[in-house]
Symmetry: C2
């Protein structure tokens, strides 16, 4: 039985070729804009120039240098700059890290209570206002362009946490697949792994007979499986890049998650691996998910069989299909160049013990049945090392 739900997503998506030119139609004429971006790839691939050209006549302050898995410490510099310059619109140009970092800044800029890490990221205070955000997405991966979530890291404490608030929905997001042509193959593969895993977090749970949600999730998985080899090998093929970009957005904009149980333990464990080892986010997911599936193959059994049949077109006994579900997931990550063994990333017992301790200290309980604690996370990581 499908659960009660509320769905609301007011993000305007502007998708396609040459859509950056539509920026002025979507930002108030008198806005004082802070343009936020990352390590500078947009300076090399022409996107920065396109944005500046479209925004001629606006007051713009630049804030570059937002890193992957953006640090609170970095972002607070942007917050101070924005407060000084009396910025009233944030335009994020980049991938999920730039968008996530900008969402944090949007909440922090108008805040007057101080201690933004505890109040905003850890949710100790309720905020009732945020600076409006728009986005130009240049990396299909996180879905941040059409939701109100962000993941922020703390250099000082070595922590990485998710945050979210409907105030942080972008007003609009521009998705031009051509801006992704120059991405390194590794980043595209990481993005595919991220999108794939977002779907699995909302799908690979206990069964519920939510027909539309299940089939939509399977649609995205099948599309990613079909698109992945094409778009990795032909980065300038518009069609497959457009399909990938849209697939990654709908993987985490709420459409497939309404009324169904969600897991997210893979992300929680993965965040710790990034925090401790600096491993790319998409790669940490590949290290965890197949081993989580094996560990929870009793409670996820029905869905694993459905996935093997509908997504991978397999037949067999229940036991064979459960095993195939795990193996096909491993094969998929490996096929896009992402190793699925923790040992490949030099993750050893020290990390297993540290993750166990952190989850235990925080009294964490993740997963659709809230039964993934420090003990369970350690068992999953051990299976990934073995």
């Amino acid at each position: 039985m499908f659960n009660n739900f509320t769905f609301y997503n007011p993000v305007k998506i502007i998708f396609g070729k040459n859509t950056i030119a539509q920026l002025p139609k979507n930002i108030p004429a008198n806005a004082r804009i802070m343009l936020t971006y990352g390590g500078g790839s947009i300076l090399k691939n022409g996107v920065y120039e396109q944005v500046k050209e479209a925004l001629k006549g606006y007051d713009i302050v630049d804030f570059g240098g937002i890193e992957a898995n953006p640090y609170y410490e970095t972002l607070m510099k942007g917050v101070e700059l924005a407060r000084e310059a009396k910025v009233d619109f944030l335009l994020a140009v980049g991938g999920g890290s730039v968008l996530d970092g900008t969402k944090f800044m949007a909440a922090a800029i108008p805040s007057t209570e101080g201690d933004e890490w505890n109040n905003i990221v850890c949710g100790k205070a309720k905020y009732k206002t945020a600076t409006p955000i728009g986005a130009v997405l240049t990396l299909p991966a996180t879905g941040s362009e059409m939701n109100y979530y962000a993941v922020i890291s703390n250099k000082g404490s070595g922590e990485k946490f998710g945050m979210g608030n409907p105030l942080l929905f972008p007003k609009f997001s521009i998705l031009d697949p051509e801006t992704t042509f120059s991405l390194p193959k590794r980043q595209v593969a990481n993005g595919i792994a991220d999108a794939f895993t977002h779907v699995m977090e909302q799908y690979m749970t206990y069964a519920l007979n939510a027909e539309i949600q299940d089939r939509f999730a399977e649609s995205i998985l099948k599309s990613l499986i079909e698109i992945a080899p094409k778009t990795l090998n032909e980065p300038t093929d518009y069609e497959s890049r457009a399909n990938l970009m849209w697939a990654a957005t709908v993987a985490l904009n709420g459409w497939i998650g309404v009324g169904v149980p969600q897991d997210w333990a893979t992300h929680q464990i993965g965040h710790e691996l990034t925090a401790l080892h600096g491993i790319d986010h998409g790669r940490t997911l590949a290290v965890v998910l197949p081993h989580l599936m094996r560990y929870k193959s009793d409670s996820k059994k029905e869905k694993m069989i459905q996935y093997a049949k509908r997504v991978w077109d397999l037949n067999g006994t229940d036991e064979e299909l459960v095993e195939a579900a795990i193996q096909k997931t491993i094969d998929f990550y490996e096929s896009i160049g992402i190793p699925t063994k923790a040992s490949h990333y030099d993750i050893g017992m020290e990390t297993v013990n540290e993750v166990k301790k952190r989850f235990t200290d925080r009294k964490s309980s993740f997963g659709e049945n809230a039964d993934i604690d420090g003990e369970a996370a350690a068992a999953i990581l051990l299976s990934s090392i073995a």
Copy 2:
């Protein structure tokens, strides 16, 4: 190649059991509400009472009697009543006709230019404001609860036209599957036919390799095919009614239509059959679509083959699959009790000629290739009579 698109849909969906109680959280406390409804089924099934109970303390004016395929003439009475009572919120309680009629009223109430048929329905004037709308949906069918379209009929002229404006998005729609338990079987079947055809209008066109959009469309079709017999035979089975209700909403909320060609000729021809013969909207679609598919089987060939394979799990030669696509569509409508032959509804040559004349006089050209004119519509209807 997948086309550029803009997507925006800010409707808040509140889905599930006992959700009517959430009305006061979603309507401003000092609103002067006009409650709009249809022929009175909500008075018999308890929905009217639930709504009134939830809205205790609000100022409410009732406007009942909105008919199926709502007439402009009826709706203008509601517009006058709302203007007199200084109504500032419209709450539509019913199916697609009540919602569509309420959307027209929302645009007409603040209008000061007169001639609301030409200005608002036929789009001769641009309106910049509309009275806000909320909805309690009691019939899964039209998708009107999550889009800004409406179809309005004119008793005087015998016309039936579509209209739309982003100002007419409902602020919220409440979907409680239990409110649909008491629907007559015929109405549920009509609703299934309507939702099925909405998907086909956005899917059965020329092929484009829009992976997500195609697979989402196929997901809804497969779900409707699976749900239909269950929900027709067991009207109080919550699970299948919930699945049907959500399927009908996502069939026409924009999710499957972004960036892809759309047909809508079946609806255009069907509207004329309702206007001329008073045939239920859902039934007119069944009379047209299979014959349109046959008539356009050259330009739709690739998609018909994909549909036969992916939705109906068939194999065969291209010719066999094209034929099977038509036959399976006929079988589906017939399986839910809806005849697909125009002759069954006493549609004869007089109607064929009148439809041909109307489309020719209006210089109409429908379909994804804008090549369905009066001549083509006549040929399609003739094949349906044969």
